[in-house]
Symmetry: D2
């Protein structure tokens, strides 16, 4: 079976088109129910919280591919101006103000459902050209899920369990690896969960330099894990890598075939470039791998993704 056939078969086998009606804009987030949200809140036992975001600044991995730069943050006013009396405010008040310009995919983010198409079709079978125009995503813009991305998170530290700390680049994480990791952690994964897969690549590039982190070789989910992703009915998945799936891709001349299956066909919310390091340390220490996770996108109208600061609470 060649790439094109394999992708088509997986797309068909794991399609959720129509599962939540023709108007659906949430995909697998439909699995994340209110009951799940209550269950998730019960996981907060110690009151510790973790930011799962990388920093947003010029020291990031982006090198300009697809016009993706690192975030450019500039000041409109500063404390230096204030100290020298350059601001003209009364009674001694001074202020600082700032601006940012950034690609929405530059650092820790969610891919919206309009981020990927399969043969011209977007999520739920809609024609891509009716969904994302130059005016943005008119249907499944990231604002449609502004309030609902809060539930049970589960960390699968595949890097630690399978890789002894870190998986090498090009390592394809299969269903077997995921199951073995969950078993080692003593954690179960089910409907509505948000799965965080740590490969350890972020730890490595922090030690060794970014290199080709943004788009180059990386450990990641195998194309063949799509069945597990579908069967478990998870609400979302996220990794500490640039692109969620293994790179190079497992088919020759392919580009992100797992994206092509899970985003437009399955309707899965995919997170990338998450920083799972501190959380993973904590989970290893206390042996508890599930937690409440709140990972709200900025409701940028029509965006096909959003920078995020996911918060894990244990």
């Amino acid at each position: 079976m060649n790439a094109e056939e394999a992708i088509a078969k997986a797309a068909a086998d794991y399609s959720n088109w129509g599962r939540w009606g023709t108007d659906d804009v949430r995909g697998t987030l439909n699995f994340l129910t209110e009951a799940k949200r209550v269950e998730a809140a019960r996981l907060v036992r110690r009151g510790v919280s973790f930011s799962l975001a990388q920093s947003f600044d010029m020291n990031g991995p982006q090198k300009g591919w697809r016009r993706r730069t690192n975030p450019v943050h500039t000041m409109l006013d500063t404390g230096v101006d204030a100290a020298l009396g350059k601001q003209g405010f009364p009674h001694g008040i001074g202020g600082a103000d700032d601006v940012i310009a950034m690609p929405l995919q530059c650092s820790t983010q969610w891919d919206g459902l309009g981020h990927i198409f399969d043969h011209g079709k977007a999520w739920n079978g809609r024609p891509a050209e009716n969904v994302v125009t130059s005016d943005g995503d008119l249907v499944t813009g990231i604002e449609t899920i502004a309030g609902i991305v809060a539930g049970r998170g589960v960390l699968l530290d595949v890097g630690r369990v399978i890789g002894g700390g870190e998986l090498p680049d090009a390592f394809a994480i299969t269903e077997e690896h995921l199951l073995a990791t969950a078993e080692a952690h003593g954690v179960e994964i089910g409907t509505g969960d948000i799965v965080c897969v740590r490969t350890g690549q972020l730890a490595r590039v922090r030690r060794d330099g970014w290199g080709e982190y943004a788009g180059g070789p990386a450990p990641g989910l195998s194309f063949w894990s799509a069945g597990w992703i579908h069967r478990t009915e998870i609400a979302a998945i996220a990794t500490d890598t640039w692109g969620f799936e293994v790179r190079p891709n497992e088919f020759e001349n392919a580009f992100q075939p797992l994206h092509q299956v899970v985003i437009p066909n399955m309707g899965l919310l995919v997170g990338e470039m998450w920083d799972l390091e501190a959380l993973a340390e904590d989970c290893a220490a206390d042996g508890v791998y599930d937690f409440q996770l709140v990972a709200a996108p900025l409701p940028i109208t029509g965006a096909v993704g959003s920078p995020i600061n996911p918060i894990a609470l244990k």
Copy 2:
């Protein structure tokens, strides 16, 4: 007592400089303890969640004052390109990608501690010029609180209780109004809480047009509420208005004197332009005015504020 004297007196009376050591960068967020976070999670009973963010798009209130524009969101790739085969990806995959340029104060946000100075001093008594340069906030950048803004939120719907729905512009909310509202709601406010004050102005401008929402007359906290804010030891406060405090300010020729007291001197986290409408409806319906609140800033290194999507869970 003139403005300058009143501000100086309040700044002295309600200063928290040194309270958490000379190195502190968190201010009143120190009140938000792990125990508080556990208590907050217990408030999730129904599993409903609310985004408290306004949308981020060109239909916002900004008109260019202080170079504050509404967010400019543009596409790097679209579904239209994908549909017409303009992207050059293999095997039928297509993609959409996007970029944003925005002031960090353009919509729903937190003010960082480096956002306001008092006579050249930033939070904890640091010289403003040592804190916020053109390179950003080198000390209290918003990234320093990336992981910790999750706790108990309390809605004080002053608009409903005192204003019969909405407070008029220029209405100064005093301690008495806050106490009366809390009592009407049957809710208590204490150490480490995040207080959300609904004035109703956002409902009004949504109905009548933005007008001068960004910087013009507005209901808001009275300068004289600073004592209550200090005494209650709340961790943060947020409103549905542009500037948190009443506008015009209560002193002639003053500019945001309450900011001048509470941010650099008290170390208070202040939120603005929050959308409390749906949450307020729900609270009025079920009579429960406290909830878990997760309002994580984007960790933009050195930022003096951050756009946010606060999530309330009940």
Copy 3:
């Protein structure tokens, strides 16, 4: 004849498709020959020069329509930082650096040939979707004319000659008005000239406030002037208004029908929002209405327009 028919007829009558070969990307700039450039240089007699650009800053006319903001200029480093020794450079050197974010149509600009399409066709009959994708104008990007926009400029101060100073909004400038103005000035217009039409609207909005300068009612070229524009074989035309042609447009429910004829069909370079005030004063004083004009676009690869600072030399 209804709008659709009139536009179709003018498009056919005044088409230059194929006139300079199938590969042409310059349109009427082909009329601007080397001989013309030599002739133009001879017009520099006194050595005076005029910038015909409006300023690029937040005090401009843009209000957000089509996501067009005024230019946002921010500093990366300042003299204030330098004065306070915050920059870390050796031996006493300090620096200031800056950044801009702006729509290419925000102020004085050229429209590139990829800026307008007629029934899905771009200049020279190319399918619009093959010319301008999300990657920009792949064929007629503004960089293709980077070096050649220098020639003889002619000012037609229609505002002064016909309007006694300023034309009212909605005034349609016809061939008769253009000819009468040229005659009053004692100037001839011919092949390869760059015609600058002053309506006086800019003078008016400077006095009275921007109002709806960006997109609202304005004096401008009549749809029926297309024949004159074609017959004279001018290389380019520019006005002191937002949109070059009269607004409201002369057909009901139409939007910029003259653009639709002259850009994709005729291949004309169109300039907008030029500041002709100082030049017009000078021409009125010395009675000389032609000059050397150098109006080079920034060679932004793939841009469908460019901010410019046109220089007139007399």
Copy 4:
């Protein structure tokens, strides 16, 4: 004499402070008179024109140092949208529109007089903190020279004459090299000229890759050429390198000492990253090394530099 002393001596020896009055904002552009402008226009003999700008796109040399990215150009509307009928305009008109975000120093540019300070002093002895705040350059903003940068350009192809085509990195161009080049070209340089120095580095990096073009080793003007620059009374100077002067700098631990002398003290307009390749070919072919040069900055209010597209006419 150490670096600090040498810089101080050169700053004193070559200072033009007060030369054109205390209010002056133009520096050496004062040498560019109307007579000079007339003389320059006479140099247009063949009517050929050359853009001396590099392209503005993501394929540039910037790597993020000092938050300098390459220009990010994005589309607001495209021909693809138009072709698929996604724009909603009447009668068959379609459009494309675009936006740019860029540092003003990212590609071919002028340094404004507010770009560099010497021991906290800006051009004409003004305190740097009074000139360039977070609001931009309040005194010598690039808009102050919007209309006047048009005059006689002279190419000194030092790369060809001294380097046999290209000078190696770290090659310091001295007065002797400049004089020898001028003599070889048969050209004289005098008051008010704009001198374009070609080192050949741009040709090299185009062949070999950008490498460290933006900030790394480069041929360039020697610190000791300051006397020649001052004595000749040139109006401006530009090179095909990132930083105009030789890199590494000729003093240990120094950073751009020649900038420190010529910009704040001499008031010289400095151009960088010019593309002199095509012009140099032409000059070598016809033996004529002077020409009319129009290099107008975009009048970005308060900018300390501007992207430009310099036009040379012969």
